[in-house]
């Protein structure tokens, strides 16, 4: 925490206030942290490689959901379906038109964003739970469409197609360590973009809609337009995440984990991390994915102890764990880990003077 301002020092200019990296030490720390993260999968390609890739695309999807749910206050249960759209878009563009990966990922974002706009339309009329149910319908309709429409392109009822290995600068990203260079780079870009959303007119309009939509409307925020923008951004980031996921798993389809369960877990991660905070997606994804690894490990151990129930233990332990953790977090830490982090930071700042 070397970069935290000591007690008694305050920002005096707007530019200082708006800066992410507030002093030279922080810039150096950020560079070191990024370099270390790029190197991290090499330490243990077997575990850290897949886990870090999973984290990267989960965090990107969460950042999108954070804008829609955390900033704009519209709950979405369709994030995984938009990931599926992006995944298919990127895969099909690469297979049939031979686009390179650095073109297919933004294109996947645009396609998914467009689909997100369609499912954001009900936000004109409804809000709260009703809107949640409309996004839930997206979660049922989109995977159903991919299974039943254009089977020669989308894989038909078996529900999956193979995705080629992405090649960038002549390097085939065919193992988790190499792929992480791509996914982490995309993550850095989306982090900068989403953080910029929070501190521009767009982000302030979102927050005003979340806090009081009537007041926001009276202040001249066009509710429909801004809600649709939030849906677009959320779905676009989901599409980018889905594209990464598809190229990482080298397959896309309804069997690859784009179901309602994934959407719910994404929402749960966001709540655990902290809704509407910059760090929330990071905290939520890291905490829940590590906890899930623990749960899988515990399930495997229990399966060894009770061999006749091993199949059930292996499939059910993770969701049970997730449900319990989610409820406990809501009861005991409803504002998420990011809030706790801020409390710790504040305590550290006032360290000599207050406990």
């Amino acid at each position: 925490m070397a970069s935290i301002k000591p007690a008694g020092e305050f920002n005096t200019a707007y530019e200082q206030d708006m800066r992410f990296l507030r002093n030279p030490r922080m810039i150096i720390l950020a560079i070191i942290a990024i370099a270390v993260t790029y190197y991290l999968p090499n330490l243990s390609p077997g575990y850290l490689g897949p886990t870090l890739n999973l984290l990267a695309y989960t965090i990107i999807a969460l950042q999108g959901l954070n804008i829609l749910t955390g900033l704009c206050g519209q709950i979405s249960l369709g994030q995984a379906a938009f990931m599926l759209v992006g995944a298919y878009a990127s895969a099909l563009l690469m297979i049939h038109i031979n686009w390179p990966i650095w073109l297919t990922i933004p294109a996947a974002g645009l396609v998914a964003g467009g689909v997100g706009l369609i499912f954001g339309l009900p936000s004109l009329r409804v809000k709260g739970f009703y809107l949640t149910m409309a996004t839930l319908a997206a979660q049922f309709i989109i995977p159903w469409l991919t299974r039943n429409i254009a089977p020669e392109y989308l894989g038909g009822t078996s529900g999956s197609i193979e995705v080629p290995v992405p090649v960038i600068f002549g390097v085939a990203l065919n193992d988790p360590v190499k792929f992480f260079y791509l996914s982490f780079t995309v993550l850095i870009i989306t982090t900068i973009l989403t953080n910029n959303v929070t501190r521009t007119k767009l982000g302030r309009a979102f927050v005003s809609i979340r806090d009081n939509d009537l007041a926001a409307e009276l202040l001249g925020v066009n509710l429909f337009s801004y809600k649709l923008r939030a849906f677009f951004i959320a779905a676009a980031l989901a599409g980018v995440a889905g594209a990464l996921k598809a190229h990482y798993q080298r397959g896309v389809g309804t069997e690859f984990g784009y179901g309602l369960g994934e959407s719910i877990i994404l929402l749960g991660m966001l709540v655990i991390g902290g809704l509407g905070t910059r760090l929330g997606p990071f905290f939520g994804a890291v905490t829940l994915i590590l906890l899930e690894d623990v749960a899988i490990e515990m399930g495997a151990r229990l399966a060894e102890i009770f061999p006749d129930q091993s199949a059930q233990l292996l499939t059910s332990f993770r969701p049970i764990f997730f449900g319990a953790v989610l409820i406990l977090f809501l009861i005991f830490e409803p504002r998420g880990l990011a809030h706790r982090w801020n409390l710790i930071k504040a305590a550290w700042r006032l360290r000599p003077f207050a406990r």
């Binding site: 009703y130 719910i264 049970i320």
Partner: protein, 361 residues
């Protein structure tokens, strides 16, 4: 008259915005397309009238079960303005409890084809009673553990907690009861079918029982809500929680009572689902739960008759929709959820819904 004067008159209606006109145009276009498709299919396929009658009876059976479940959603929403997302799991657990009660009945010989009439009926009603009690306990535990600590938090928070509870219950059921489907064995009085005269239309005895039993349960609920003291207290809490508590209503008790009624109906619905589908699995409750929620929204959520009407309409749409549109039967889920989206876009208050105030949305 100036514009301001016009606005001051009571029957002033604002002009539709272009986006609204586009939306309604889109809706009418889709309705026309659907009508055209239905006309084509019906005139080409030429199904006999008996087919439509049997299908609509199936829809009625389905709708009655949905109605029982939907009432749980709508009652809780009326009081707490929250969606009890784990209600489908309450249904499923009730169904499982009913299954084990049915196993007991089988052991006692009540289910066999030659069982006496009275015992055969006991084998029908005992599982339903057990299922209702089990669901009641689950619903109360859910309220106590997952919802009560979060009362007063933002609207969004209990919904997410409900989702977590739904996951927890569903996969706990998987852990305890396994993946294999548990087969319901129908007692003797529920097997076979009744034919209506010599028209060729018949209705399975299970279906008839489900329709009649749901009507009885809903009548009891209606009397409970409209004619008793606790029903009056429930309506008062739904109207204004704070004011009701000032008038001496124990709000906490009423909320628990609402969950109890929802749980009772859900347990009955779960066991009936078991009799109807003859299988019970860990995820049996989830999709019917969502459908019942759709039905509640369709009828206007928070509105008790609305939930019943919406459920019947949804059941009919599911039973008749695929054949009307000439689609395979698996498309019924998509039809149900498309209906949900259209209701949400064009009439979010539902068929019978009151005007949605800003507070309740």
């Amino acid at each position: 008259m100036t514009t301001i004067e016009k606005r001051a008159t009571s029957d002033y209606r604002p002009k539709m915005r272009p986006s609204q006109i586009a939306l309604y145009g889109f809706g009418i276009l889709i309705l026309v397309l659907l009508g055209w498709r239905i006309y084509n299919v019906v005139s080409v396929e030429q199904y006999p009238i008996q087919f439509w009658a049997i299908q609509s009876i199936n829809g009625l059976v389905l709708g009655s079960v949905y109605a029982l479940i939907a009432l749980g959603y709508t009652l809780v929403y009326g009081i707490l303005f929250m969606i009890n997302f784990a209600h489908g799991e309450v249904v499923m657990l009730g169904g499982f409890a009913g299954y084990f009660a049915l196993q007991l009945c089988i052991r006692w010989g009540w289910v066999a084809a030659d069982a006496p009439f009275f015992q055969s009926w006991l084998a029908v009603l005992f599982p339903i009673a057990v299922g209702m009690i089990a669901s009641l306990l689950v619903a109360m535990a859910l309220e106590r553990i997952a919802y009560r600590p979060l009362r007063g938090a933002q609207r969004l928070i209990p919904l997410i907690s409900a989702i977590g509870a739904s996951f927890f219950l569903q996969y706990s059921a998987l852990l305890i009861f396994g993946v294999t489907p548990h087969n319901y064995q129908k007692p003797a009085v529920l097997t076979g079918a009744v034919s209506l005269g010599d028209s060729g239309v018949f209705i399975s005895k299970t279906g008839l029982f489900i329709i009649l039993a749901s009507i009885v349960l809903m009548l009891i609920l209606y009397i409970l809500v409209q004619k008793t003291k606790i029903g009056r207290a429930m309506r008062a809490v739904a109207e204004d929680q704070e004011m009701a508590s000032l008038m001496g209503v124990d709000v906490n008790r009423i909320i628990v009572f609402t969950f109890v009624i929802g749980g009772l109906l859900a347990g009955a619905g779960g066991v009936m689902l078991g009799y109807q589908n003859t299988v019970m699995r860990f995820n049996t409750g989830f999709i019917p739960g969502l459908k019942a929620f759709t039905a509640a929204v369709l009828g206007g959520i928070g509105n008790v008759p609305g939930a019943m009407i919406g459920a019947i309409i949804l059941g009919e749409l599911e039973a008749l929709g695929p054949s009307l549109l000439g689609l395979p039967n698996e498309y019924k889920d998509v039809i149900a959820f498309s209906v949900l989206i259209f209701v949400l876009i064009f009439r979010p208050t539902g068929i019978l819904g009151e005007r949605l105030s800003r507070e309740r949305a």
